[in-house]
Symmetry: C2
Subunit: 131 residues, 2 copies
Amino acid sequence: MSKQELGVLEVTGAVIGQDAACCPGLATAPLDDERAAELAKVFKALGDPVRLRLLSMIASREGGEVCVCEMTPAFDLSQPTISHHLKLLRQAGLIDCERRGTWVYYWALPGVLDRLAAFLTTARTAEGTQA
Amino acid sequence: MSKQELGVLEVTGAVIGQDAACCPGLATAPLDDERAAELAKVFKALGDPVRLRLLSMIASREGGEVCVCEMTPAFDLSQPTISHHLKLLRQAGLIDCERRGTWVYYWALPGVLDRLAAFLTTARTAEGTQA
């Protein structure tokens, strides 16, 4: 991956993260078109079992990094398929990566995950009201 | 909608909610196949701008209920399309509804949203470590 590509991904992640942090939660006010489109992209990235498992494998790793060489054996899928899913997670700003020698290493961007979590948390339940 | 159909939806919501509550967060341990599939369904339901806007309109409503008759005018979409999106949100356990006379009224199920939020919250960021 080029430094330029990494830069673009970092910007994407930052924009999504910042947006989720700056704005009201799902249950606070109706979403506008633009923000709904941005958030839907991230949720769509999470809306696949393989991507959720990959993200969870990366985010739960002690030390914070997982080599792509460890991921392929854990799935009954080809390397290109795994790489495609990882690319979608990166484009959503949920993970980032770096090539070192033969392998690419991935790590989670917990800031984006936590901002998504804050967006989903409903004030209603926090106040103890039952739906 | 029949009472039987409502019952099925309630069970679906309860299962997803319970599952998200009982199990480790995304960053705690790698997800297993079954749980990844269940959670992916909910995130997929959130992975569409129209559904996010509908859910946000419902979840942010003072009083907790929105008539379907109020939702259609807010979108440049047909009533059947809106109904389809609402059905997917119901099937994911995110909202529920009841017909009263001519109209169907929708409300959010904040428990499922909060459990999803808890699932996404990373221990790493809570501990103050920066990605």
